[in-house]
Symmetry: C2
Subunit: 311 residues, 2 copies
């Protein structure tokens, strides 16, 4: 499962397939009509702080030039970002007062309906993240990668796929090392109310590492038979939770791809990095909270976080 | 604020005033009609693993002899446990499937209506816990203690007192070093949805230490200006959450009274002890989960907990 390190400058140790979107978001703190969003966007924007990341996704002809610049500004590899005739995927959502519950007001799949990624990596990325997208597409991506060249594959999903594409999703789960879901998804997938029991049941479906995100309540990792639990970083000024989960995953996978170490100790540290990345994300609308941060900012807040959690 | 250590064998470094009850509890895992409960019961039962604790409470003539024996078995000082003509306080509750929501089906105050504790300590306990009880009574207890002999006073409360006795409760908060509330109570008391903001607002009401319990999601401590956050210990087999919060407080205060150190570092460790105590409590109905445990069991699980939380 270990591939040699590449020295070619265009090699991406990490690739993500997912959505790139134009969102409309309403939270108790404001309303934004055109926000750059999507699971693969948040993921790659964070992961790019740690490693070169390839973005496998699709946008429409309406995709703003400045959004391309935003991604290029982080040296994200866009050679697999397709531009198709039509409109970019659009999501419109509203959050409740407590910011925990999101109501989807509108979903326009648009170009996503015709998305069928063709991979043409000269060298296979060792780390792959299958962000929340149709499990058929997640498999289609895996099918094009040399299994022996892969070091660590993780996936996300959502309630919709659990309800409507469970068979395909289960096939994906059999092929990944790690799955990242939220507590609601973990419950839906297993029928278990208890997060620890749910994580154990999910690990029986394939992934040897199960990460359950609990939003403001932190995250639970089941690593083979061991648990690791982290609270969320305490943020008082949360403006928009959109993308927090994808930023978290971007931090985790970016850090793993940087360090190339998937031991429990290092995965725990990666969870910390992901948690801190998410804490920056929720402090602004869209990518705002992440725009000005560097790896150093994440490290600084991480030290504070370790102090807060130590006992 | 520091009192000299006493060598007299009947000296109690810790005292709790609160309820001693006969509960009826229904959870998804079963139904029990006569369960020994009450805030001061759980608190003292746990705290007695660490220090000698005086139980200031009232029961009725119906209070079973075996319950007295249970308390005596832990060397809990019962010289302030009054027995009044009438029936013991009775609470009947039912928990939802997720075990987070408790519905009170019945509350019979009984002898609690006539409770007016008279303290007669030869030497004032340095550590005091005012468990969830009418704020008038909490003050009445404080009024009888020499302020200079007190080292650390903490209190709990509940929604009912926040709604109906807020003025009196605010007087209590002005007189304590620490308040222990759950997240719902913190929100009700401050109008703040964000737990960190709520904790800060509560600290402006008096207590320099604010502990917000979040049930299965752990606990947040605001210590002057510093935060400490701990997840809950991962328990898969939760049978009955009743008394978890009081056991937590008993662990915290018992450990503080044992170590006589209220530094941030030690309070963090005390939170860990409280968390572990609560994790044993929820593994059985009533006191069942706590019956057979020793301080050693808490220390062992605590080491496991520290491993789970370290990153």
């Amino acid at each position: 499962m270990t591939a040699p390190k590449s020295n070619t400058s265009d090699y991406c140790p990490l690739a993500v397939v997912g959505t790139v979107a134009i969102d409309s978001v309403e939270t108790p703190f404001g309303k934004r009509n055109k926000v750059f969003g999507g699971s693969a966007t948040y993921f790659s924007y964070v992961a790019s702080l740690f490693t070169r990341v390839a973005l496998v996704a699709v946008v429409g002809k309406d995709f703003p030039k400045e959004y391309f610049e935003t991604l290029k500004g982080r040296s994200i590899d866009l050679s697999h970002l397709e531009v198709l005739r039509g409109k970019t995927f659009h999501w419109k959502g509203r959050y409740e007062e407590d910011l925990n519950t999101a109501h989807t007001l509108e979903t326009q799949l648009n170009v996503l309906l015709d998305f069928r990624p063709k991979l043409s990596f000269k060298k296979t990325p060792e780390f792959i993240f299958l962000a929340n997208i149709d499990p058929h597409l997640q498999q289609h991506v895996l099918d094009q990668l040399q299994p022996n060249a892969l070091r660590y594959v993780a996936c996300d999903t959502m309630n919709y796929w659990i309800h409507h594409q469970k068979t395909e999703l289960l096939k994906v789960l059999k092929r990944v090392d790690c799955v990242v879901v939220n507590d609601g998804e973990a419950r839906l997938l297993t029928g278990e109310v208890n997060v620890m029991k749910a994580a154990k049941k999910i690990s029986l479906l394939g992934p040897k590492h199960v990460i359950v995100k609990k939003g403001e309540h932190g995250v639970v990792l089941l690593y083979e038979k061991e648990f690791c639990i982290l609270p969320a970083y305490p943020v008082e000024d949360i403006y928009d939770p959109t993308g927090a989960g994808d930023s978290f995953a971007g931090g985790v996978m970016g850090y793993l791809a940087l360090t190339r170490d998937i031991s429990l100790t290092n995965l725990k540290k990666a969870l910390g990095v992901g948690t801190i990345a998410a804490s920056f994300t929720v402090q602004g609308f869209g990518l705002e909270g992440l725009e000005k941060i560097t790896r150093r900012d994440i490290e600084n807040r991480m030290r504070d976080f370790q102090k807060i959690c130590r006992f």
